[in-house]
């Protein structure tokens, strides 16, 4: 596929390690041809987040949603086995499922009534003549399944690529960070009911970059920090600001994370005065259980650190004042749609769950105190790219000259773009 981007010795990016300069072409955010190539070379080849297992716990549970720009049904069959099928009838192509989620034994195509079970098997159709006896028994009229489905710690991924390496190989170093999220429960994490859906007039890569960008925090989110500082008891009293510098790590295959001290309450096991003495007893007990389960060091890391985790290409898990799972789909080069959920230990104490959900809403989501400011910034970037072709490049060099990167550096974005470049240049 021809990609209308300037190509140099480093491919479509400029990765100048000698001069510690890293440049990304702005046209990669605006060009429909680039998006078409991304669909082929990234979304059709990588593993993509599809669902959390807690959303479909029982046999015949299903959800339907867009994954990498394609409409899927992710379901458990009558035996409870997980599967993912294209949401399109094998007869004439109509979507056979129009509900977001539910439990059913059958998907009946509304057009001519071809009927499939939750494993995608074609089980009946209303006509009694016109087909040979064995026409439907060969399996060729079943719903087409995606190439592979696999799960890591209850995060369900799919790939459209039959030659994809295994999920565990694909996830590479980010498994350590997914483990830290999954280990926050003794019995299993769950997506809490309800979700946020929002859209922005921005390229999908802008949201990926922004989701683990510590550098923008104090400017873009100034009002949020002002608000927290003005709120009694929102910060831990013994917080050491030096821990905010944190670290930024490249986890391989385009995945990356930042990790840093959390000044605010973390429902997993970090209390703040705002939650009161009663809340303190509950949270202290959570911490003690966490230490017993994971050991002191890991428990402290889980409790006291924030993590913004980027999983290539379009999954973000932000383990901050609440835990959000966020995935997003490019609709066109300048427009994306986001789906975001709150993830929590399924055995969570109701008081702590309340702190979690309040924290989530305060910062996150289209009506929160932070996300709308991010959205505005990303839209401003997209508008700024209207000035192409002269200002051609975005700069994400920060930290490139340093051996170690912190949360305010841009290694996480370079990790993403190097992988993007590798797949696009392939």
């Amino acid at each position: 596929m021809s990609i209308p981007l300037p190509s140099g010795p480093d491919g479509y990016i400029k990765d100048d390690r000698a001069n510690s300069e890293f440049l990304v072409p702005r046209k990669a955010f605006t060009s429909p041809e680039v998006l078409a190539a991304e669909r082929e070379q990234i979304f059709n080849t990588c593993w993509l987040y599809a669902a959390h297992a807690s959303e479909i716990p029982k046999a015949n549970d299903f959800i339907s949603r867009r994954v990498g720009g394609r409409e899927l049904i992710i379901s458990r069959n009558a035996e409870g086995e997980l599967g993912a099928h294209f949401n399109t009838c094998s007869h004439r192509g109509a979507m056979v499922c129009r509900e977001k989620m539910g439990n059913t034994k059958r998907f009946v195509c509304p057009y001519h009534g071809w009927t499939f079970d939750t494993g995608g098997v074609m089980v009946e159709q209303p006509a009694d003549t016109g087909f040979p006896d064995d026409f439907f028994s060969k399996g060729t009229k079943n719903l087409r399944s995606v190439a592979k489905v696999d799960t890591y710690r209850d995060f369900v991924f799919i790939t459209y690529n039959p030659n994809a390496k295994t999920l565990i190989e694909y996830l590479a170093g980010v498994t350590e960070y997914i483990d830290i999220v999954a280990d926050q429960s003794a019995v299993g994490m769950e997506i809490t009911e309800g979700n946020h859906e929002y859209s922005m007039r921005a390229n999908w890569k802008l949201l990926l970059e922004n989701s683990a960008d510590g550098y923008h925090g104090l400017t873009t989110h100034a009002t949020y920090f002002d608000y927290l500082q003005a709120t009694n008891g929102a910060f831990r009293t013994d917080f050491d600001p030096a821990t905010m510098a944190g670290k930024c790590v490249d986890l391989g295959n385009g995945h990356a994370a930042i990790e840093y001290g959390a000044p605010w309450g973390r429902p997993v096991a970090q209390w703040v005065p705002q939650w009161g003495e009663e809340g303190r007893a509950t949270v202290d007990e959570l911490k003690a259980n966490l230490v017993a389960r994971c050991g002191e060091d890991k428990a402290t890391r889980i409790a006291e650190k924030n993590r913004n985790i980027l999983i290539f290409p379009n999954l973000v898990i932000n383990d901050i004042m609440a835990l959000t799972v966020r995935t997003f789909q490019p609709v066109d080069a300048g427009y994306l749609e986001v789906n975001a959920w709150s993830l929590a230990p399924s055995e969570e104490h109701p008081d702590v769950r309340k702190f979690r959900q309040y924290n989530f809403l305060e910062f996150l989501g289209p009506a929160g105190f932070a996300t709308p400011d991010d959205v505005e910034m990303l839209e401003l970037c997209q508008q700024g790219y209207q000035n192409l072709p002269e200002p051609m490049w975005n700069d994400i060099s920060k930290g490139m000259s340093q051996a170690q990167n912190g949360v305010n550096d841009e290694l996480q974005m370079r990790a993403f773009w190097r992988q993007w470049n590798k797949l696009m240049a392939a």
């Binding site: 509900e99 977001k100 989620m101 539910g102 809490t192 009911e193 309800g194 979700n195 946020h196 859906e197 929002y198 859209s199 922005m200 007039r201 873009t220 100034a222 009002t223 949020y224 002002d226 608000y227 003005a230 709120t231 749609e337 959920w341 709150s342 109701p350 769950r353 309340k354 959900q357 309040y358 989530f360 809403l361 989501g365 289209p366 009506a367 105190f369 709308p372 400011d373 959205v375 505005e376 910034m377 839209e379 401003l380």
Partner: protein, 163 residues
């Protein structure tokens, strides 16, 4: 008597929209009692919104008025990028139905539609809502508001002025 309170309740709800349209935040806040609950549930599936803000997701939830005061604090800083410039808004409310409560409160169900215009872009939200209207020594106040946003693929931002 009941007609009088119903008329006054409608006037209060219309006035709420006008305060938001005029960006008179202090006047808007003063329409609420201190213990007023303000809740915009999230959608759970096609036909159902979440019903427990403490364990499930919402779009906005405050157990009392202090949360709304925080929002005004934020707007007044004039540094929240999402609210610069503030959109021009137009609140419309109609189809009132009244449900007298045993304690003397009046629950008012209505339909609402708010247009917002900012930087050449039109956004709109619409839906149903319930106001809990309470007679106080200081006149009628809003003691609770639950807002169902029917179009929940939210473009850009949703804030108290846009619903």
């Amino acid at each position: 008597m009941s007609n009088e309170i119903e008329e006054a309740a409608v006037a209060l709800i219309v006035n709420e929209g006008a305060c938001l349209d005029q960006r008179d935040w202090d006047q808007w806040i003063s329409l609420y009692t201190e213990d007023a609950e303000y809740w915009v549930p999230a959608w759970d599936d096609e036909y159902t919104v979440t019903d427990d803000p403490q364990t499930q997701m919402s779009l906005i939830y405050y157990g009392d008025r202090s949360g709304l005061e925080d929002r005004i604090f934020r707007l007044n800083t004039e540094t929240s990028l999402a609210s610069i410039p503030l959109p021009r808004t137009c609140h419309m409310t109609t189809n009132y139905r009244f449900d007298a409560q045993p304690n003397g409160d009046l629950k008012v169900h209505s339909a609402w539609h708010t247009y917002s215009y900012k930087l050449k872009a039109i956004n709109q939200f619409f839906g149903h809502q319930e106001h809990l209207i309470r007679p106080t020594d200081d006149g009628l106040k809003i003691a609770g508001r639950k807002i169902i946003v029917l179009n929940d693929m939210i473009a850009n931002v949703m804030d108290v002025y846009s619903i």
